[in-house]
Each structure stands twice: as C-alpha cells, then as structure tokens.
C-alpha cells in the first residue's frame, strides 16, 4: 500500500537563482517502508522533506498520504515526526520537556508521558539528562534530544534529516538499529536523509539518489550499488571508477568493451542501454572489485601508484592507468607498496556495469 506519494513536485525559492531546489520529483513510498534520500549537499533533500512535513508548499505538484491530498494540509494535521537538520530544539524547555512536548499535545497522561520520555531518552543514551537545559548539552547530545522528541510520539510518518550526523560511529550504529527497531515495530513509514552511504545501504528498504533537485535513481540498496543508473550515481554511491571505453560489441544485456591494455571484456549492461559498436560506453568498476597484482601480470591493466591512503580496514590506492586515475581499495596490500610503484590491476569482470552518462 502506498503511503506517501510525491507527484511531480517542484519547489522554487524566490531568491534561489534560476534552478529549482526540487525539480519534478516523483516518489511513492510504501507503508512501513524505510526510504532514504541520498544526494550531495544542496541537492534538495531537506526541501523535499519539508514539503512532506508541510512547512513549504510545493511550487507545483501534489503530495498524498495514502489517497488523501495533503499538499496544503497544515503541518500539525499530518502526524509526521521530524528531526530537523538544525535540531530546532525549544531553548526554553529542559531536555525532558522538549521530548514530552508532543506527548502533552497528544494528551498523554502524566505518568505514561514520564515513562515514555524516559524510555526515549534511554533509547538515545541520554538517560539522566532529562533535567538539563538544552544549552548545557554537547552538539551530539542535542541531536539525540531532537531524535528522541520525534521518536517518542510514534508518528505515522518519520522524517529524519541527518539525525545522526553529529554522533560517533559507535553510537550512530546503535541508534540506527534503535530507529530501525522502533520503526519496524510500529510499521512507521520513514523518510531518511543521510550523508553516510554505508548507513543508507544498511538501513534502507529503498534509496532515492538526488542531484541538483532531480531524482537520478530509485531502488533497493544493492541495486543502486551494483547497478547504478548513471555515472553520477555510480560515482556518488560508494566510490567508483567510471571508465570511458570503446564498444567492441553490444548485446541485449552485455556490452563488450576494449580495455586500455587491449584486452576485451564483456561488461553487464542494463536493458535498453542503446549502445552500438564503435560507440563509447561508460563502465563503472568499484575500487574493491579491482585486485592488485604485479606489474608484469599479462591480464592486468598496468599502472603506477600515485597515492596510498590507509583507512583502517582497507588501503585505498590511486593508480594511474594510461593517464586516468583509477581508485583501488585493497584489503591486504603487499607490504611496501608505495607511491611511484608500478602495479597491475585486475578488474572483477562480472562486477562491472555499464551506466548512462
């Protein structure tokens, strides 16, 4: 059952320049779904969320909850719980009062309200902070109060605008699980905005990738990751090398391209890719789908290491292949690989994917 629908919704700001902040967005979200908006800073995520919450009216288009048109319904009649990107905590109330605000409006009894507030504060690891003033909290603690305030009212729709951006990885993970649990239990439809792609991947039922106000692709995390629709999505989700390669042969669902070394590979491609022999295909390969071998390996692309970065779990390298930088993420790097070394790269063939520009 479709719960939230955006029908070619656009939003222009009076002083926002020529471009629309949100441009002809079409999204339908199923009841109980955990839906994520992903996209670069300034692409229109917050604006979209605020239209769903009712703080902006779309310049054009409609928004529906179920079958009802709510485009112009006042925010307090929408039963959405929003975590604002800037928290929007009530400075004149204590932490507990902030969290209890929505309950008070819902006329929840005192005892029940107290219990739920405490529970919510516990969920965000702020038990015992109830009596504090908001300005006596750290940034991350404030963010958690904002989260608790939205969760505690158990709204029909949760709108979460980067609710975990100021939390450490550990806490973020725990809180993320907590949100998911609460959301699943109550079957709350959720729209989530995050910059953390791993988070988006881990939590979401579906993801919409936006760029400059437009939706680029909507799909399940695996789909978006492994079969990005456009080179923007490929590059934006995780990291990817998008190689421009000459097409040698094109079939329904594979496109054979020639690699710089001369080898030819058949890369999987989406149906209706529209590529012809002689054209140029954009092929996306993820850094972790590139293996590192010796420079003398005949099957490998030869290249020179231009950067090495240690990130904990893996080591990221940038390898210059015929003038193009190729990113490689290797789990176990042969000790001693350093900038300037000659190496060979092996692409995992069935993990390649042809994308639109």
């Amino acid at each position: 059952m479709i719960d939230v629908t955006l029908e070619s919704v656009s939003k222009r700001f009076a002083r926002g320049g020529d471009a629309a902040a949100v441009d002809q967005v079409d999204i339908s979200i199923a009841a109980g779904e955990f839906f994520t908006l992903l996209g670069p800073s300034g692409c229109g995520k917050t604006t979209t969320l605020r239209m769903v919450a009712g703080f902006y009216f779309p310049t054009s288009g409609r928004i529906r909850f179920g079958a009802e048109d709510v485009t112009h319904r006042p925010p307090n009649k929408r039963d959405t719980g929003m975590v604002f990107q800037n928290y929007a905590l009530f400075p004149h109330m204590t932490v507990a009062q902030n969290v209890a605000y929505g309950l008070k409006i819902r006329k929840v009894g005192r005892a029940e309200s107290k219990r739920r507030v405490e529970e919510a504060l516990g969920q965000v690891h702020l038990a015992g902070y109830g009596h504090r003033r908001i300005d006596e909290l750290s940034g991350g603690q404030q963010q958690r109060v904002a989260l608790a305030r939205a969760l505690v009212i158990r709204p029909r729709t949760l709108l979460l605008d980067e609710p975990l951006s100021n939390l450490d990885a550990k806490l973020r993970e725990e809180t993320r699980l907590e949100i998911r649990r609460i959301q699943r239990e109550a079957g709350t439809t959720s729209i989530y905005v995050t910059h953390d792609q791993a988070e988006a991947m881990a939590m979401s039922d579906r993801i919409a990738v936006m760029q400059a106000g437009r939706v680029q692709q909507i799909g399940a995390p695996q789909e978006i990751y492994h079969r990005p629709a456009t080179s923007f999505v490929a590059r934006f989700i995780g990291r990817s090398n998008v190689l421009s390669l000459p097409v040698v042969a094109a079939a329904e669902e594979t496109v054979t391209v020639r690699l710089p070394g001369g080898a030819e590979v058949a890369a999987p491609a989406p149906a209706g890719h529209g590529l012809r022999e002689g054209g140029t295909a954009l092929v996306s390969v993820r850094p972790e789908h590139i293996g590192l071998t010796s420079a003398t390996d005949p099957d490998a692309l030869p290249g020179q290491v231009t950067d090495v970065e240690f990130t904990g779990m893996a080591t990221n390298l940038v390898v210059d292949v015929a003038g193009e930088p190729v990113q490689v993420a290797a789990i176990d790097v042969p000790a001693g690989v350093a900038v300037g070394d000659q190496v060979g790269l092996r692409l995992v063939r069935d993990r390649m994917w042809v994308v639109r520009p």
Partner: protein, 596 residues
Amino acid sequence: MTTIPATPGPATTAPATTDPTPPAPRRRLADRFAGGTGSRWFPYVLVFPLALVLFGYVVQPMFATFAESVGVDGWENYGTFLTGDGVARSALVTSLVISAASVVLCGIVGVAMAFLLKRFSFPGRRLIEAIILVPAALPPLIGAISFQLLYSETGILPRGLQHLFGTAEPVLPFSGIAGVLVVHTFTMYPFFYLSASAALGGMDPSVEEAAYNLGAGRIRVWRTVLLPMLTPALVSASLLVFMTSLASYTAPLLFGVDQTMTMQIYINRTNGDLPMASTYASVLGVVSILFLLGMRWYEGRRSYRSQSKGVAAHRREVTNPLGRWLALVASLLATAVLLAPVATIALVAFSQDGSWTTEVVPAAYTTKNFVTIFSDPDAFEPILNSLQMSLIATVGCVVFGVLVAYAVRRLNFRGRGLLDVAVMLAWALPGTVVAINLISAFSTGNAFSLGQVLIGTFWIMPLAYFVRFLPLVFRSSSATLAQIDPSLEEAARNLGASWWRAFGTVTLRLMLPGVLAGALLAFVHGVGEFVASVLIYTSETAPISVEINNRMYSFEIGTAAAYGMLQVILIFVVMVVSGRLESGRRSTREAAQWTA
C-alpha cells in the same frame, strides 16, 4: 511496491502534470480557518479586526486631518514648508534635528546601559534594573520641571557648582535645544534600553564568539556583529524615539524651543488656524511614515535570526576584575544621574511653598503635601483610575500588538506594510489629534464604534491608551520575533501543536522578553498619559496626570510633586514585580556567567 522510473526525462513526465489544477477537494470552512498559518485566510482573519480599528481611529482621521489641511487654501499651506523664510520650515528642520539627535543620544545611553546591566554582574545591578525605567515614569510636566530645577540656569547643579567654584555665573546650565536633548535622552533612553536588553538576551552567543575567534576586538565585535544583530531592536527603539521626539511638546516648551512642529501645531490651534495646524500634523505624519519606511527597508535587507545548529549557551566568561569595578563605578554614577530628577521631585514635594527660591536646596521642609493627599478621601482615586485604565489598555496592547507583530513578521499577505504604517501612525500623531479623532468617532454611534457612544464613559480612556500605546508593544514584540528561528515553531507544529498552541507555548514564550518590555513601556506611558486624557476624561475617570496638571496650574507644586512621587513609586513597584516575573533568575544567571 512501485518503483518510479528514475529517469527524469520528458518521457516519464507524470500524467498528473497535465492537469495543473486538480479539482480542489472541498474543504470544510472550519478546516480552512483551523488551517492556521497554512490557510490563505488566516492572516486576514487575524488582522482584520485590528485593521478595522486602526483604519477607523488612526488612518481615516489622519486622512481627515489631511483633508482639512488642504480644504481651505489648497496646497498653499504645504508651500510654506518649502519656502525658506517661514517658521514652518525652520520648525520642521529643528524638529528633525532634535529627533535625530535624540535617537543618537538615547541609543548610546540605552545600549550602553543594556550592555552594562546584561553583561556584567556587580553589586547593585538589580537595583539599577529596577530604577531604570523611572525617568520614563516621570510625569511629563513635573519631569521637565525637575530637569529645570536640576540643570537649568537656576538649577541645583549649575548653582551648586557656582557655589563650589565661586564663579559669578551658574556653571554648565542647559538651555534651549541642549536642554531639550537632555530631557529627551533621560526620558526616552528606556526605549533603547528595554529593546536592546531583550535582544541581547535572545541573541545567539556563538556568533559573537565566532567574531572574537576571527580576531575582532571587543569594540569591533560590537560594531560589526552585536549592533548589526541588534538591528531589529535598535530600529524599533529608533522609531519610537524619533516619533516621540517629533511629537514631544513639554520639553521644547519648557526650554523655550518654540520653533518645533508640535509647538507650531499648538500655536496654530490657539490662533484658530485649524488648516495650518492640520498641515503641521500631516507633515508630522508624513515625516514619520517616511522614517518608518526607511527603517523598514534598512532592517529588511538582512536576516537576524540565528542560523546555528542547536542551541548555544551564553558561555563567555569574563574574569577581568577591572571590568567589574568599572561597571560598578559606572552603575553608581548612573544611579545618581537616574535618581536625581526623582530626588528633585521629592525635594519639591517635601519643601514648603515659597521656601525655595534662590537657594541651592530648599530652606524649609514639610510633609504637608503628602498629608493633603492622604487626608483627601478622593485623592487616591486618580491613582487607582490610572492603574486600572493603563492595565486594561496594556492587556489589549499585548494581545493585539503581539498578534500583529506576528502577522507582519511572519505571514505573507497583502497590505502587510500598510498595517505596519497604520500601527505606527498612532504613535507619530500628537496625542491631541488622536484624542480628537476618538471623540469624533465615539461621540455618536457609527460603524467603527459598533454603534456605541463611548464618549463620557469609562471605556473611552483605555481605548485611547490602547490606540496610542499599541505601537510600543507591537514594535518591541516585532523586534524580538525577528531573532527567533521559525523552525522552532515548525517543530512544535510538527509535533502536532495547532497554530495557537505552537504560538503560545513556543513563539510567544520566546518573544516574552520583548513583549514584556513593550508592555512595561505601554503601562508606564499609560500611567503618565496626559494630552489625550485631558480631552476625554470624565470626573470619574480623572487620571493621575490630569490631577497633577491641575495642581500644577493652580501652582500647588508641592502637591503636584507629591503626586508625582507616588506615580514614580508606583512604576518602581511595577518594575520590581515585572523584573521578578521576567525570569529574573535567568538573566541574573546569564550575567553571572559573564563574570564567573
């Protein structure tokens, strides 16, 4: 689960767009109004009654005044403002100069006081906070006289200094325009003080820190960050001071500066030249409107609300003991200066008639004046009247002023600017004009008075105070509102609060310092109101100011001063109580944090 095609190409344009105006589902009327700010009607519903009142009592009479000014001689009267030789032009110029100078002086004194009291904690700070409004509470006539007794050629200070230094002439006497400015600064700086201190409290402190961090020194931070961030408050206060000075009557009168607009209005009325008087009044109104529009433009260029994420605490800590001592000394000085006029009035109230002529201070003392008041059974009535009427008016001002401030700042509707102008016009017009307008409106029942004859009843007085002092509450509420991040209200709405509820529990609560400041000003001015009162009071509703005036004119200065003392004490009590109300706890703590 449907997957929407990801391609935003023309091929996938949703069919819905082919029907740009889908049949709007019929919403119940109640829904529309319940829609709060979301409803297109909401702003109009909110402001309509007020717009009606303002139109009836301020705008329309203003037009009538204007019509009168051109009725007989056409535009000829206005010509005199343009030709160089007449009184008209020099009166206009003098008035403008005095007003501009008053704004600057009051701004300096008021903002400095706000800074001192809100940013430092030192012994006696609470006391000063309580007496800070006393100068504004001085009854106009007595107040001006006390300034004369203090600072004029024959005043205590110049004569005292003369005795001290043994000079032939009194030292440092104030007269003419300088005297007017002293009085204006004294009586009007609270406009700045109140709004600036409300705004300082509501400011995002991290912005200030950012400026320090970027290397700005204290003065620079004030100039480039704090003052600009206080703009809404300063604009509000400037408007009030400018218009008050423009309409100021007693001070120029007492210091003999008669080439001012208000003096000319009075003189022309006495002359019986009503068209000319109306011309002056109209010019006054036009100048005020121009100033208002200029200020609106200036303020509207920027945003003043915190864009910070979350809530930052007032965290700067000052350990400099020198600053503390300086603050203490400055505050002692301020107390002395603030209380001097009151002390003078006390001196008058306790001195025997005729015992204070060429002496520096009176030679003989008596409590007779107070005995007179307290022994007269009717003597308390004016005090009670004033209290009651200003209280009612203040409540009305708060209710309407806050809502209109909200409408003008936050809602988008046609005529927003007009409403702003209309409210302020009531402040710009001389009180006499407002009162006469009210009399004409309410001496017979008409549409604007809902068919009621209010003249001769109790209610005309609070109504007049309401119309006159609404701008005070409106302005200072509006200034604090400019600082408040609308997303707080949105958060409340999002949590299910209706507009009213969100307004009451969040927006209004955060506006409170500004609203209280405005309410205090309205109340204080209500208690002291004279020019309009004298035209509409009845024997049962005689306010304290009329009583004082009567005593003054029968030269019972002592008794008048005694009344004045009572009035000042009354205001003082109100200040102390409201200081407690305005979460004195919080402000103390804030200041304390600064000095940690």
